[in-house]
């Protein structure tokens, strides 16, 4: 009999470990998606190059580790300002010109950007798989019979911290309130004298800084190569849409849901089918709750 369907005392341990796996995987997804929540949620720009900025973050971790033997947990503090600047530059060069254009123009601009970044990485650093192996890579924590991978724990904690910081930023700072206002109604915000271009620039830069930092933190867990970001792009959109546009806490819950679907699907039905479950969930949510599982004001600007 399939052990996945047999219930016994040993199953309790397994279920506990599955729950832990869900939380830790959800933490990684949340970390990767935070930046996208901002960019898609506030700017309404479908950024297909999201995964490529993640990839660049991973390469930063790799080169810092190889050249300076710098630990990713240190590099992340360099990555945030660095990628903030990268975000500003990319916004100025690429995004600013299309920010008021149609969604199609934006989508295909970021597709072009994604192709460029992938292949710049390929030419510059070759297609080899690279690895970052800090000393704490395979450190595990134990609680009873359940096991926690330290790197994943840290990634999850930082995801939570980053999310809370952004929630606080959006709620209590002037810039944050302006960003939210712009997200909810671009025209009204303009009428109120808000410089939307500045808002978008800031949003984009913060979003890129977040995903760059995420790249640095997940680099030890996965291999680093030019197309490493691809696998996370669609997944991040699933997370962001489930959570509701621009809803930071929603995205965090969305990450857990996607992780839960993936972990449970892999265990009970086989890892072959895991993505089909979350893509179907994605389509269902789009159709029945397009504003996200928890609803979100401002979604109507997308006509939903």
């Amino acid at each position: 009999m399939d052990p996945a369907r047999r219930l016994g005392p040993a199953q309790i341990d397994v279920l506990a470990q599955l729950a832990v796996a869900t939380v830790l995987l959800g933490g990684i997804y949340a970390l990767i998606s935070v930046g996208l929540t901002l960019i898609f949620g506030i700017m309404r720009v479908v950024n297909f190059a999201h995964g490529e900025f993640l990839m660049l973050g991973m390469y930063l971790a790799f080169w810092a580790f190889v050249v300076f033997t710098a630990d990713p947990y240190f590099v992340v503090f360099v990555a945030i300002p660095l990628f903030f600047v990268v975000g500003l530059v990319v916004y100025g060069l690429v995004m600013r010109g299309v920010i008021h254009a149609s969604h199609n123009v934006q989508i295909f601009t970021t597709v072009g950007l994604s192709t460029v970044l992938q292949n710049v990485a390929l030419v510059a650093w070759s297609g080899d798989f690279r690895f970052v192996r800090p000393w704490h890579l395979s450190t595990v924590l134990r609680a009873g019979s359940t096991i926690f991978n330290l790197t994943q724990v840290v990634a999850s904690l930082i995801a939570v911290a980053l999310t809370l910081a952004l929630v606080a930023f959006m709620k209590w700072t002037h810039a944050g309130r302006v960003m939210r206002a712009t997200a909810q109604d671009r025209e009204a915000a303009t009428l109120m004298g808000i410089d939307t271009d500045r808002v978008y620039r800031l949003t984009f830069a913060i979003g890129i800084a977040a995903v760059g930092a995420a790249g640095v933190l997940v680099a030890p867990l996965y291999s680093v190569y030019p197309t490493a970001g691809l696998q996370f792009v669609l997944l991040s959109y699933v997370v962001v849409v489930l959570g509701g546009l621009g809803d930071m806490l929603g995205a965090m819950i969305g990450s857990l849901i996607v992780a839960a679907v993936e972990v449970a699907g892999s265990y009970f039905f086989g890892v072959a089918w895991k993505e089909i479950f979350y893509f179907i969930l994605f389509i269902l949510v789009l159709v029945f709750r397009p504003a996200g599982l928890f609803g979100q004001r401002g979604a109507e600007t997308l006509g939903v």
């Binding site: 397994v14 995987l25 070759s126 798989f129 690895f131 096991i147 996965y222 291999s223 993936e262 072959a272």
Partner: protein, 424 residues
């Protein structure tokens, strides 16, 4: 319709026509012999394409140092094949623009199928060194050859090793072995896994406890699968991995303290690539990968001509890349060397004379790079028992040759694997 658009169209066509027509007659240069090389140089397979190119270039230089082919210097026309459409289109280009009569390549089964079809329609020789789709040379194409064994061969060798070498050392009869099949879902992974499953069951009656396929590009966590496997308690895990999936499985198995007696893989990817060792260091100890020979390989076990070229090849790879040859180097390199042997004999690229030369080649194991021999079937497939394969094992950061024992000075360790922290 506006003149501008027409101008633009004409301009675009001119670019293609002009640029491409200008290169016609690549073959005409005397003193050089040009062949077409199709490899995935960009895209997700770029890392493998790069090593194939390295292997090809190294052996090309070895060939030219030894007088070239048919008295001419061997040169390449390289084409980038990322998907079937591009592979077919680039094969067309190599044939009609570069004037090549022989194309070699391509690493991936989805590329070799489309490209060889084009070659066949132009009566051009297709010389495959790496794709392993068993259907590749069963399509009735007369001038399509493969130097490497197909996926069925890999499955055959793996089960051979498990039944004849591992089982006795585990004190188990082959039919007592509980085996779990885990594989990435590319055509390579599926081909090897299915043929291994079949032989394991039909010939040895092994007990299959699990079969799972996954997409390596979207795999982010192996824990659920490992938890399931822990309860199924297999003796041997037959895992075909592609890249990070191998690292992920091994690392998370250690985290979850999943104990099994052996893990067997096949091919130059995943556990068979240097990346696995780089990612895990000594934690990699114990994994088996069916490959071309690695350190420990006894040159003396080869025939004299085999010793000579194997040594020259190894030294050249060492000089160029600073490492022992990887599987991708060896596959591409030995394929090209074998092409030279055929051309030496045929003294012509006429498809019929070439075929006659291929069929007449009969070299025992140990005659060339990797200790391979040569005996092609009517289908254009080099024989399983001539394309000698070897079981390698990760031992302290190196993938070393451990089986068949007559070819190596080193021996397999950690059978059964034992506790995770005891594999030193």
């Amino acid at each position: 319709m506006p003149r501008f658009v027409v101008t633009l169209v004409v301009a675009a066509l001119t670019v293609v026509l002009g640029g491409e027509l200008a290169t016609v007659g690549g073959q005409a240069t005397s003193g050089e012999y040009r062949i077409g090389v199709l490899e995935p140089i960009t895209g997700p397979l770029a890392f493998e394409g790069k090593r194939h190119m390295e292997g090809l270039e190294i052996v090309r230089d070895l060939i030219n140092e030894r007088g070239g082919v048919m008295g001419k210097k061997l040169v390449f026309s390289v084409a980038d094949a990322t998907d079937p459409t591009v592979a077919a289109s680039e094969a067309n280009r190599l044939i009609t623009r570069e004037g090549v009569k022989i194309i070699t390549g391509t690493f991936s089964s989805r590329l070799c199928g489309a490209a060889s079809e084009v070659a066949a329609r132009h009566d051009v020789i297709y010389w495959e060194s790496s794709c392993v789709d068993p259907r590749f040379n069963k399509r009735g194409l007369k001038h399509v050859y493969r130097t490497e064994i197909d996926a069925t061969g890999f499955g055959w060798y793996n089960i051979e090793f498990i039944a004849k070498h591992l089982a006795p050392r585990l004190n188990l009869k082959p039919n007592q072995i509980k085996i779990a099949f885990l594989s990435e879902d590319s055509s390579y992974g599926q081909g090897v896994t299915e043929s291994a499953r079949q032989r394991a069951k039909a010939e040895f009656g092994m007990q299959e406890v699990m079969l799972e396929y996954y997409n390596w590009q979207t795999l982010n966590d192996m824990t659920p699968t490992i938890l399931k496997m822990k309860q199924l308690n297999p003796d041997v895990v037959h895992h075909i991995s592609f890249s990070n999936d191998g690292v992920l499985f091994w690392r998370q198995s250690k985290e979850q303290n999943f104990l099994f007696k052996a893990l067997v893989h096949a091919g130059a990817t995943g556990y068979g690539g240097s990346d696995f060792g780089k990612a895990l260091g000594n934690d990699a100890n114990g994994v088996f990968a069916l490959l071309e020979p690695g350190p420990g390989f006894r040159l003396e076990a080869l025939r004299p001509e085999g010793q000579q070229i194997e040594k020259a090849f190894r030294d050249a790879v060492q000089k160029k890349t600073g490492t022992y040859p990887f599987g991708a180097h060896q596959l591409a390199g030995s394929g090209l060397w074998l092409l030279k042997l055929v051309l030496d004999r045929a003294q012509s690229d006429d498809p019929e004379k070439f075929r006659a030369a291929v069929m007449s080649l009969d070299l025992p194991v140990g005659s060339m790079i990797n200790g391979w021999g040569v005996k092609f079937s009517e289908l254009g497939q080099n024989a399983n028992d001539r394309v000698q394969h070897y079981m390698l094992q990760w031992q302290n950061g190196q993938l070393v040759t451990v089986w068949p024992e007559e070819f190596t000075t080193l021996r397999a360790k950690w059978i059964p694997l034992g506790a995770w922290d005891q594999r030193k």
